[in-house]
Symmetry: C2
Subunit: 243 residues, 2 copies
DNA sequence: AAGTGGTCTAGACCACGGC
DNA sequence: CCGTGGTCTAGACCACTTG
């Protein structure tokens, strides 16, 4: 009996193939079965197999060669991030080979700054909920993540907040908002004292800063993220297929 | 008479829709015609229209709402980079609203370092061709780009090299290599004196560093890139759709 | 020549949202 | 209810690579 909603056929095929790649059933550098063979074996149409392989290729897991076959990419394991989840910090930590945990530092409220009001399209003085969390990779603090959300969007009481939730889950559960798309600015900055308290090491050293704006489907901004990212320990590495 | 190879139907549809979005025929925030209407108007199947709309949505140009319609995303103009071309520096400069130009600083040859030999899978002491180029945004130097390629891959004399060529074109024309996929590490560092000579400003200030490894279709590394990126002037901003 | 991936079509059914 | 996008199918033809 299924507890959760059934997944789409394509998602199931995606999981099967990724599992085979990760477990080595399809070994690095080797050729995997053809589209026709996979569609026969899995009992789905070739179009469905193709849509999955296209996604895997775009993320660099496989390399496709017309007239030849589809091969497992042996270098993609170096990548820590993939398209569509650049702002998923737990996956980023896991992609670096560490076990991610999230620690809730504080949850406060304060009026929005001028810049925040502008970006979030708020009236002057509207209040924000500020979430400060610390992401650990195997016990080591690596990302300080601040998120701010207008309090006017709050729909459910935020008692007993589980700090380990993904920002997407928090927005869904307490604000009834679904993320439609995301803009991420990647910047280089120096580690400020306030962040150094959490991340340790030398203040003033170069560090990555990820500034994220979350939008819902009607193009309205619903939240901001400001992440200080210790890239001396964690690598931000992107795989991209050509075409 | 066509001079170049005919483009695929999907690519043509892609160009048409992007042009309509950019020119405002489909104005920001408005709903564009449905899949059926587009397939009727353009004389292509709905599946083809869908594949194009899926690509546009993944890059944030449009937002799709089941049961409602497809809308032009009014915020995507802030993005300067899109998936699949993070390493395309001229597009990145253009995405920031500047006119990109490339200046060839030097072309030299030297033996590979130990690390380079490792990454490029070379024998000890093999020689590299080193290309140093400076990317300008409206006359202002913004990216110092070094590329190294094993000399053993060279297939054509590199006389009269056009420094303005894309690295992909250089690899194709002079080395007969086609890029299959790319790994890019994004790091934060401080501006070293050697790069400061070209980029100006204060040495020691934080700066982005993009380290790229280029692979051909057989999983063999063919080139490296090391880009110093002045993000105090140019923004690295990525748009991502949620699903 | 045979087999692969690349492209495209026509049509079916479903899930969702606005009217 | 109707129209929208989401999913999936079966099949055709093409372009390319390899033996």
């Amino acid at each position: 009996m299924r507890v959760l909603q059934a997944k789409s056929i394509a998602d199931q095929v995606d999981e099967i193939l990724l599992e085979r790649i990760r477990s080595g059933v399809y070994s690095p550098g080797s050729r995997i079965p053809s589209e026709s063979e996979l569609s026969d074996e899995l009992g789905v149409s070739r179009a469905t197999v193709r849509s999955v392989l296209a996604k895997l290729a775009a993320n660099g897991f496989v390399i496709r060669k017309q007239g030849d076959g589809t091969y497992v990419n042996e270098h993609v394991h170096r990548a820590s991030a993939h398209f569509g989840n650049l702002w998923d910090l737990t996956e980023l930590i896991a992609g670096n080979g560490y076990n991610p945990t999230i620690e809730l530092i504080s949850m406060t409220r304060r009026p929005a700054s001028e810049e925040e009001s502008l970006v979030l399209a708020l009236e002057a003085g509207e209040e924000l909920i500020c979430l400060r969390r610390l992401f650990h990779a195997d016990q080591r603090a690596v990302i300080l993540a601040d998120n701010v959300i207008p309090i006017s969007l709050l729909r459910e009481p935020m008692d007993n907040l589980d700090g380990g939730m993904h920002i997407r889950e928090i927005l869904d559960r307490y604000f009834h908002q679904k993320i439609a798309f995301v803009l991420t600015d990647i910047r280089s900055t120096v580690l400020i004292i306030e962040a150094q308290k959490f991340l340790g090491g030398d203040a003033g050293r170069p560090i990555l800063q990820l500034q994220t704006t979350f939008y819902e489907k009607n193009n309205l901004p619903i939240a901001l993220g400001l992440n200080f990212f210790d890239d001396s320990f964690l690598h931000l590495s992107l795989a991209q297929a050509w075409n």
